[in-house]
Symmetry: D2
Subunit: 343 residues, 4 copies
């Protein structure tokens, strides 16, 4: 199959390109930039010289449908809900990596993204696909989860689904590297403002809060809210999610650990760490894994769970390919099983 990428010059777009180029059953058809179209991708990205010669086209739905079997949208919030309409209408497969089709309730989108939501008939067609927990068949409009939401949900799913914790006590403390903020220039991405610094931003206002909550409520309808914070740390890639919750009285660390084992035993991209160990951020860099470690404090009755992902991989492009693999009915790990760069 051939795939188009819209928004190829962003960090997520370029990551999609990298994965697809190494994918045995998928290849790049055409790539597009809705704002920046140079003669070819390697002029914008010198690391691709010699490896790739690929013209960057303006957005062109006719070309996309003529020369590809599906299209990935790797665009900022607010773009896909407009530009993808033509494909959805034609039932041409779309995998959207932005937030535009994640929230089922348009009012929530408007509230958290401060933009008009996608048309209800489009939203109705979208499947929010966190692969580890999406058993239904995937239709032709796949909404890929957000990076923080992916890390948060995978980190706490066994606790919530198993009813192992007091869900009102759940705290999610997320830390992200700078690629999560995209290529946009701003005070908060200036090197001098990031280096040797850490900051918590968008307190109680991060747009992944309703996305996390929507999924949690699928698992446990009693949950009415979630406490989730986001901080920036001086690294390029990665989300380090620390979760805390009061466990149900009498549960042992072993029982909690076993719940994680059961939940993820058939999931290739979740690696539960050995008992007593926690994952470090860099061990997932460049991979589609979410690595998880669990520790119960017998004194406080609070479990600490650490989940780490690469925000551009499991948090974006890697997961989009994982969703593609499932949609296409091929091996879930296809194109995602390379050994990562290390150190």
């Amino acid at each position: 199959m051939k795939a188009a990428i819209v928004g190829v010059t962003g960090y997520t777009g370029i990551e999609l390109l990298r994965i697809i180029q190494g994918h045995p059953q998928l290849e790049i058809g055409t790539v597009h930039s809705y704002s920046l179209h140079k003669h070819s991708i390697e002029e914008e990205y010198p690391h691709l010289q010699a490896l790739l010669h690929l013209p960057v086209h303006p957005f062109d739905p006719v070309m996309i449908m003529a020369e590809n079997d599906l299209v990935f949208f790797a665009t900022p919030a607010g773009v896909a809900k407009e530009l993808a309409t033509v494909f959805i209408t034609e039932n041409f497969p779309v995998i959207d990596l932005s937030g535009d089709f994640r929230l089922k309730d348009p009012a929530l989108y408007t509230q958290w993204y401060e933009k008009d939501a996608a048309a209800p008939e489009l939203l109705a067609k979208a499947t929010y696909a966190l692969p580890e927990f999406t058993s239904q068949e995937l239709g032709n409009l796949i909404s890929n989860p957000g990076c923080y939401a992916t890390a948060a949900l995978l980190t706490i799913a066994p606790l919530v689904k198993g009813g192992l914790v007091d869900s009102s006590s759940l705290i999610l403390d997320g830390k992200s590297g700078l690629s999560g903020a995209g290529k946009t220039l701003g005070e908060s991405t200036h090197y001098v403002n990031v280096d040797e610094n850490m900051s918590l931003y968008k307190l109680n206002r991060h747009q992944h809060i309703p996305e996390i909550l929507q999924q949690l409520q699928q698992w446990n309808e009693e949950i009415t809210n979630i406490h989730f914070t986001t901080s920036l740390i001086p690294v390029k890639r990665g989300i380090f999610m620390t979760a805390y919750a009061k466990v149900t009285d009498g549960l042992s660390e072993t029982e909690i650990y076993q719940a994680y084992e059961r939940c993820y035993q058939n999931q290739p991209f979740v690696r539960l760490q050995p008992v007593g160990t926690l994952p470090q951020l860099r061990q997932v860099t460049g991979t589609n894994f979410c690595d998880i470690g669990v520790g119960l404090n017998a004194e406080t009755g609070i479990v600490t769970v650490v989940g780490v992902i690469d925000n551009l991989m499991k948090g974006a492009a890697g997961q989009a390919i994982q969703n593609y693999n499932r949609w296409a009915g091929i091996e879930e790990t296809s194109g995602l099983w390379h050994l990562p760069l290390y150190p």
Copy 2:
């Protein structure tokens, strides 16, 4: 007055040296290293060339008492409880920056530090001095709080003292730079293992847990435990403490903010951030401040409090000088009120 420093070649020792050199009422007498004594300090630390010519002596209690008015111990755990005995016995003033005299219960020290505790009669003489909350007169053995403990306690004190939160719901998520780990070489301090990485270490086993708890119990005897985690982030200096707790029903963000205002209004080294803002780590680098910001999530009823300190300043040497100032009966901010390096 003249001060001696034992352990001058460590990060905390060199920071004490820096502050005392700029202090209007205190000067360096003699400096000592219990393991490393070069001809002079500037041979070990080239940044001090020309600025200072100071011989580094071996540990020598006779010299220390003959030429100084007090002594700072900036040594690893386990050293001061032995070497400081002679001074304590002679009632010669000691300010210890290590953990050796912090825990009143010797059994706790043994449990958490995995060493024999200081003799009970020595512990009995020690004052654990978190300056913002130590109103009693300081004796001649001052135990300076730990870096994480300082950040944790200042961040949540108004919540706990004011009974504003369900103390069983308190979560303290601490992140530290690498200078907190000292000069010791190890896998966890190798550049390649730190750069582009983050990790949570010593889960439920960090030796500052009993120290934090001991102080919290002074403020609220109902507290029986505390959930506190420690992570490493790729910066040199600084602790970024994020605290979470369920607030008492009906409390507004304004009421919580006002409790912080009341608590710290006369404390020169705690800077409550403007309403609606949170501090960034680097704004305290090189200073003795603890900057605090508060935000209540009305949905979850959970308050997020961020406190930041420089681990070598407010978390160690700066606070030791603040304690000295109070002990000596001089202006609390003496020697600690310089504008910091920025950026």
Copy 3:
């Protein structure tokens, strides 16, 4: 005396503020921003909260002359040549930290800065003041050398002045941290583009080339050009200058070293490293020092000289204060002799 700062909100302006605040004979009068004037400086810079309450005024020459004894310009190229005119005309003392008054030949300024030069009568009044080599009395318009130029000139001065090398063989390879690029947002200052990267920029086009050459020609009129390159490394502060040159036949390393000793023996801010050692960048961070190390390769006959400075201190604000001290006839090290933050 009281000093005004124009351009106080830039990195150099804030560094001037820091130094002056700790200077025993100079104090802040009024501070100004030609573009950004908030209510007070600590609103723009939270690290200054509590330490300073200082209103930021718009540029106001009448106020500046009424309330100050001199004015520092810490503004981008092209600003001082316009705004400082009124002070120069009135013979009100000006220390300019920009490039506007450095080049004696207006044509060179126009060529390298791509702007119109200052009026010739203003340029005629300016003294280019690299303190270590400026013996004449300083007038009321002091032009402070550029950061790269300072590092380059101090690193090679003894070689050029002493005729110890073939000046046509001189190579200056300069590396700078990001604060040297200022607060302006751009692709080249985005964290993701700097972290884990290094790049050489403005090859043969850096505007400090004519400044370096102008001074070298004062020392040795046979020099007709200089080969100088500039690279960015992922640090906040500092210039690491590596210089290479063929030494005159028969010269030994000892003779070269002695030439450096003679040249700098009375210069408080140049610290020649011990024989056989080279300075590291961080040993000058936060200081006004230029640290220099020298090594001759007997095989190649080429001497390597490493000079390091803090670009915001000896490369900008620190040197401006050093020039102030000399102009005011006070101790050259006044306000500049504090122990620096370390590590």
Copy 4:
């Protein structure tokens, strides 16, 4: 074919593993650690969990020869010259990534490595293989060039081979990331000593000097020495080589550029940058490329050439595979043509 790796737990060993795992014509046979053999590689390297289950064996030449077609040595200097003897004697193919077989003159090895050299009969069998310049057939003992030497030689080869510059004027200023220093703990690899720092080390004493010179003399026997320096910059991976030389009178930048074009037009792993541009370090991270940019300063007559490589790829493991590909008579780019991680 199957390959063994001796020294698999080092940075270079783990990189070999990564490449071979993605190589279409080569696979991992057995892996060995001469000091550290855990149950399996993923226990030492958590990033490999699930991807690989591979027991780490002690060094075992019988097993290696029985189960593999060749062996890579990714060991520190001094190991291969002993442990590889048995393979060389048996004419079992060896690719050595250390310095043990690079220098033809045993006395030079002893001088620069401060160890006894390999036996002369072993050295006689070794081919020093910089692939771009090794046309002869490769025997069964391939000596892979050093990381700095690779960067240096590729950066200046067209200048030296073409006689375009005064070779006595050549200066090579090399900067390296920390993975080049290996996993060994030391003061110079402690995070606090690297972060925000830069240093020049081993001035005129780096062991790659004789290696570079040996190759240059193959190209131009008049060269008697080379001026080469090495510095550390705070990044994980990469060598940034800046070279300077006086060009022959009358040569234009275009002529020099064309010499580079001719030299590298058929070399897949050298990417000459577009006219007027220089490569940045990160554009080669994770790749086997050496990217080169050239600029002539018409004023000084000095050409600046910047060459960048990934020290673990083109500087070690990648080049070893490139040599393997040539030795095996397969496509030179096999296993080395994946799109790299970015950013």
